[in-house]
Amino acid sequence: MWTRTKNRVVAGVMILFFLTMSLCTWLKKPDAFSGSERRVLAQFPKLSAERIATGKFMEEFESYSLDQFPMRDTLRSLKAFFTFSVFRQRDNEGIYLAEDYACKLEYPLQEAALDRAAERFTYVYEKYLEDTDSKVYFSIIPDKNFFLAERNGYPAIDYELLINRMKSKTDFMTYIDITDVLSLQDYYRTDTHWRQERILPVAEKLAAQMGTELTGDYVVKTLEQPFYGVYYGQAALPISPDELCYLTNETLESCVVYDYQNEKTGIVYDWEKAYGSDPYEMFLSGPLPLLTIENPNADTDRELILFRDSFGSSIAPLLVSGYAKITLVDIRYLHPDLLERYVEFDGQDVLFLYSTLVLNHSETMK
């Protein structure tokens, strides 16, 4: 009798489960964007005989069904919870949690990528800087794994080897070590980047090594909304958000930023981006190939050309007081050959400031 009852219960419950889930799946209104994953979600694919015959429709329908699944974020959290708590896996798709920080495994050291980065820097140096009076500096920003990985039992790249290899391949530049003025607390818990309000010592050290002095005090301001960094969405776990602070003063507020890509003049902090999908993009409007910051109140006519990645967006404003103009170049989005159209290299200070993450994946550099 129990077997019969059990079979009826199992059949009834499972039919109900499949019908409910299917109905929810079909009836759910599609979302356009996932805030937690910071990406545009797939929409119902275009239907045509050709797209069916080539399998394109089915392929896109698969993505649509995954992206638009009801309670997607909850299910992703369930998976992450199960991965960490039941399977006891050390990471979920490469994201791990340690000391209340979310971080992504960065391993192993890609020596070929380092060599490529060095080759790209050398190319820029030889094409534009070798025959000028420019003083060229280089500094490497360690990612969070530098502080977290090894001491928490995660595989970590050999940072000493990375720095030494880069230094030896770019010996035409003066290397500035900033690892001694950084600590784990200088990074967001849920994001890959460093916190602007904590990196003033880094800016001061870079400025001092480049022979300029930073002046003025800053007021620390905090965005009203919580900051959910890029790892928050990837971890899919209920981690408490960060606060996003920024430093400001009269000098910074008077600076004029010019964006060459969009031919747009603006200010240092982009308020539209501050309340967008990635608030970190409030610093100089996020990833852009070429920008200039002009400081009308500068006591000097010195200029800086900063070859940088996204870490550069939040530190560049802190270097403004030492320069009349800073040009920010991101060679991930702008081929170095095109630089001569926009930038005249005539003795400015030049700083290559790159994070270990970009150096270890330099295939993104043009």
């Binding site: 889930m21 799946t25 199960f82």
Partner: protein, 447 residues
Amino acid sequence: MVFSSIPFLYYFLPVALVLYFAAPKQFKNMILFLASLFFYAWGEPLNVIWMLLSILVGFCSGWMIEQHMGNGQAKLLLVLSIVIHVGFLVYFKCATVLPIGISFYTFQILSYEIDVYQGRVPAQRNLIRLGVYVAMFPQLIAGPIVRYADIDRALSERTHSVENFALGIRWFVIGLSKKILLANVLGRLCDIFLTSDDKSVLYYWLFGIAYSLQIYFDFSGYSDMTIGLGRILGFHLPENFNYPYIARSVTEFWRRWHISLGFWLRDYVYIPLGGNRVSKKRWVFNIFVVWILTGLWHGVAWNFIIWGLLFAVLLMLEKRWLLKYLEKSRILSHCYVLLSIIVSFVIFYGTNMSDLRNCLGGMIGLNRLPLISKEFLYYLRSYGVILLIGMIGTTPLIKILTGRLAQNSFGKRAVTILEPIVLIGLMLLNTAYLVDSSFNPFLYFRF
């Protein structure tokens, strides 16, 4: 379409089942055939033509073989038909694009034609019924290889019940969980290993173990889903796996692993060649033919042939000499079987001879690798629990424990309450893993 996908689970399956159960009895086969064509065409829109052509050739040749039964023309027709089907199969195995499931449905059609030729079954007069036998979506992609004689009757006369539904859905959910929660996760470890720059001898062994578990849970999970869906639709499909990793000899392993392929080759190749009731030389020849075919069935590549030959050699060694020693020690026999399986699946994995050399060389330390590496230690810790669950899952331990629990009335009540909760929990987890991950290929789709 794959079973472990959102389109299958929450779009195709509910609609197909509702239409199937709502249809009057005389239309059920038609609904099942059309649903199966849709299922196949979803992944391979154009290759559905090859399958339909194979069904048509099978239908015509079956009918003609029966018409000429007892004379030489029947044999000629059978040979001609086999040449066409095997020709298709060999052509596609050598081509760059292999239609999904072609090895499985070709063997099923051959089974039908040989059964008709041998007079075991009458030729099918209804094209749709033969179409259902060949293309039925639960077993179309990755078997088990169902012999026509086994389901001939069910094609025209089958019953549906709540018991069959409950049993089927249970089997399906367990199979799906094996695939998504174990095979896919272990596959991720294999993937990490393959792209690693920090390999070591023990890391190669970790890969070998993980891959052996992955391939087992992948294939047996698919077979479980097939059997479960078949049961829901009223078909009693044969089991394809019976805890092969607890075998104490390679001979026993092959009685427990991919049972339907073993039976097929035994019934349609080994026995017609004379089996073991022949001279020693001829027996050795028969064994080699069967195992080379087993290898080639998986793909036209040297690694599959070597894989088949390895088993041929091991089986002959066991028959002649080794079995009596293996029977003496339980531990030794298990170690021998597991070692043979791991090595064989590393050979099976190799996509070319260079991969094969690297993997086997890496396992015995020939590649100047360290014994352990930082990455090996990390992933051993990270995947330790899954590997343990996987190892337990290859034994009948859970089946024995739940069987014991259900022996008294308290246990029966507990199982009645817990089973639907566990099944729903597993479905939610499977869905969560699917929604979050794009790593989902079925290994046996290659064949």
